[in-house]
């Protein structure tokens, strides 16, 4: 998927908590239904008084996660966001990147021991029934 694509959360209050985005993400990234290995997160308010909290990578132009990586495995890209070189990441035992993310949207794939990166496929946006997500080709909105 081209890095020019961008997906972001535009209408968080519309979320109904169906997890369609989470499962779309794990289907795409891991060929599985998997609530844990995902790059998009849904946290419910169990009584439903508030909308669920939906979160995902914000494609920071100055990504703390990449700055925190001691091995140069995570690299910032000019459009915003990061790329991962798994071979460089494999030597890491500290996962400083995950601690560094202020939005807590970088999580570890516990099988492969690398962070799970959003690859901007847009499946979450495609399967969201309420247009919580915004998916666009333009790097700047």
């Amino acid at each position: 998927m081209s890095l020019r694509y961008r997906v972001e959360i535009r209408n968080p209050s519309r979320c109904i908590g169906c997890y369609s985005c989470v499962f779309a993400c794990s289907r795409h990234l891991f060929n599985a239904v998997d609530p844990k290995r995902t790059a998009v997160f849904v946290e419910l308010d169990r009584r439903g008084v508030r909308a669920p909290k939906v979160s995902m990578c914000r494609f920071c132009k100055e990504p703390e996660c990449a700055y925190a990586c001691p091995h140069g495995a995570l690299q910032p890209i000019p459009e915003g966001g990061i790329t991962l070189t798994p071979s460089k990441c494999a030597v890491c035992k500290t996962y400083d990147c995950i601690e560094a993310c202020q939005y807590k949207v970088l999580v570890l794939d516990e099988d492969k021991k690398v962070p799970i990166l959003c690859d901007r496929c847009g499946e979450c946006a495609k399967y969201c029934p309420h247009n919580v997500f915004w998916y666009t080709e333009a790097p700047e909105i």
């Binding site: 109904i16 997890y19 289907r27 239904v33 439903g48 008084v49």
Partner: protein, 605 residues
């Protein structure tokens, strides 16, 4: 597919896992698998409240994989009817159980002290929970919930009604969903099981991911981009209120009338304009049929020195058609906030709102007719509840406060057996019927259905076709048989009833094929029939006798859009139904002929 079955013994506080791919391969999952586990685990004539009575939960091969496959089924011995207990819940229970790594859960034994069953993937614990005993379901949920970022969490609990073994106590799932109707909550109460919490974080692998992705896209389109399920999303089932009222089929004041002067005020449209706040849904269901309404509670006036403007607390309460009918029109109540208040109370206490409504309607009529006096009741119930006595009565039922309220806690049939007034006790097969005064289909369908629910076989829907001139009364028996057989296929996947127009036989065959399961439509048809027969044989074994079932006068002579029901026609449809079932190879009649006992007043008056 998850074929592991988790067994838990509450007394010994231990658990073990067995792979039951034998069952899952043959019976798909859901009710299919659970029906076999029930036969394995439940000894004949066991007391529903004894430690020997098992509780079986199951998910299915499509759980979490395709949209609207979010239901878990539970089979048990019903304390309300004395035979089959079958109930389905949405929320996150099914997907949490699946992603915790289990296709089914079998609970055995009974604890001596209050406990919570905690399942977190492979870690299973039965923990003492004396401090939770006595709490309402909302407070239990709050106490047990954990912050979960990536994983699925489900919390199911009982309230005081389950603890006091009210025979129609529910298990409340994830605040707004239920295992409802046939008294599962009371069975938990007898086992001192206050709650089950599940956290699932495991992966459900897909054998052919490309096929699943392609099929997901297709079926998701059917769910969200066609009108097949839009009703449930838009106004939700409350849209029934005005439709049924216009048709003259909205049960009002204990089924005595079929049009309600307050229909406009309690309509789905009015709820949407006034109290509606937000929609929520089950995991992996984009429909969001659960509509939450705002209930403002004012604190006691002296709490903030009478400054009421700042002392209102908002609580969101799920509303849908059935509780709105049961606690609204059927009690003569039309105010959305009053209806929400009663629903909220039932939910927190863990009572089945539909049966609670039927019980209150019966009590109100019994009081009006002089069958019950104020001394017994302690209050004066009247239609529309002008004296606001229903909330206190509901609490009294949940806590089985007096001998009389303990009777009310046994359901409308048993209480009328004791005090009289059986002819106006809305009960079919031991359960209270849903809110449709539509015709023969609903009455017969509820009576003959394995779980005595309108969702057993959609009898109300053929009634509406008949009222519109699109079907005939003679078609009812055949429709009920076909519908219930097919629904048991859907309930084995486990699909939501609301998605039945999406998951047609062709779609189901295709969906299973994407998971490498080769079945055809004939196989499914056979399976649905077999499941129904298994469940019915269980019912009969436990003492259910369709020939001895009784249809109270208010239902057998119900006024409907096609006129007043005729007992002889009812009898004829039931006879046709029995004949069709017997032709399938299921023995229902104990002796030839004799439908004579049907409809005969047993303890009427």
């Amino acid at each position: 597919m998850n074929t592991r079955v988790l067994y838990v013994d509450l007394l010994e506080r231990k658990s073990w896992v067995r792979d039951r791919s034998d069952l899952f391969e043959k019976m798909l999952g859901g009710v299919g698998v659970a029906s076999h586990l029930l036969l394995e685990e439940c000894a004949p004539k066991v007391d529903p409240f004894s430690p020997e009575a098992p509780i079986i939960f199951a998910t299915g091969p499509l759980t979490g994989i395709y949209p609207c496959m979010a239901k878990a089924v539970c089979l048990f011995k019903s304390p309300l009817t004395g035979n089959l207990g079958e109930t389905h819940a949405g929320g996150h229970f099914a997907t949490a159980l699946t992603t915790a790594g289990y296709g089914a859960l079998v609970i055995k034994g009974g604890s001596l002290h209050p406990v919570v069953l905690k399942i977190r993937d492979d870690k299973v614990e039965v923990k003492t929970a004396s401090s939770l005993w006595g709490l309402g379901t909302r407070a239990v949920d709050e106490a047990l919930a954990e912050p979960i970022k990536n994983g699925l969490q489900s919390i199911a609990s009982i309230g005081p009604a389950g603890e006091h073994m009210v025979l129609y106590a529910n298990v409340i799932v994830d605040v707004h969903h239920h295992f409802g109707r046939l008294g599962l909550g009371a069975v938990w109460g007898a086992k001192k099981l206050k709650a089950i919490t599940i956290i699932g974080t495991k992966s459900v692998p897909l054998p052919n991911p490309q096929a699943v992705k392609a099929f997901y896209e297709k079926v998701e389109h059917e769910v969200v981009a066609t009108d097949k399920m839009s009703k449930y999303h838009n106004l939700g089932t409350p849209s029934n209120v005005l439709e049924l009222n216009a048709l003259g089929a909205l049960p009002t004041r204990n089924f005595r009338e079929r049009r309600f002067e307050g229909a406009e005020e309690m309509s789905g449209e009015r709820f949407a304009e006034t109290v509606f706040r937000r929609k929520v849904t089950c995991t992996n269901c984009p429909v969001a049929c659960i509509h939450l309404g705002s209930l403002l509670k004012t604190f006691a006036p002296d709490h903030e020195k009478g400054r009421t403007e700042i002392v209102k607390e908002e609580n969101l309460v799920a509303y849908n058609y059935e509780p709105m009918f049961a606690l609204g029109s059927n009690l003569g109540i039309s105010s959305p906030s009053r209806i929400l208040e009663l629903i909220d109370l039932c939910e927190d206490l863990g009572l089945d709102a539909m049966m609670t409504g039927s019980v209150l309607a019966w009590v109100t009529e019994a009081y009006e007719r002089g069958v019950l006096d104020e001394k017994t009741l302690e209050v004066k119930p009247r239609w529309g509840d002008p004296d606001n006595v229903y909330p206190q009565m509901i609490k009294n039922i949940a806590e089985a406060k007096t001998p009389f309220y303990s009777r009310l806690a046994q359901g409308v049939a048993k209480v009328s057996d004791r005090y009289g007034g059986r002819d106006f006790a809305a009960s079919l097969g031991g359960n209270s019927p849903a809110g449709y005064a539509t015709g023969y289909g609903h009455i017969v369908g509820t009576l003959v259905g394995a779980r005595h629910s309108h969702l057993s076989n959609s009898g109300y829907s053929i009634d509406q076709q008949i009222a519109a001139g699109k079907a005939k009364v003679e078609d009812i028996a055949g429709f009920l048989v076909k519908q219930e057989n097919w629904l048991y296929v859907l309930y084995s996947l486990v699909a939501c009833y609301f998605s039945r127009s999406v998951y047609t036989p062709d779609i189901v065959v295709e969906a299973l094929a994407t998971l490498g399961m080769k079945v055809n439509k004939e196989d499914l048809e056979r399976l649905g029939r077999e499941i129904f027969h298994t469940l019915y044989r269980f019912k009969i074994r436990e003492g259910f006798d369709l020939e001895k079932e009784y249809i109270p006068k208010l239902l057998r002579e119900l006024d409907t859009p096609i006129g007043r029901l005729d007992p002889q026609t009812l009898k004829k449809i039931i006879a046709q139904y029995i004949e069709l079932r017997e032709r399938e190879g299921l023995t229902i009649r104990k002796k030839e002929e004799s439908l004579a006992e049907f409809l005969l007043p047993q303890s009427e008056g």
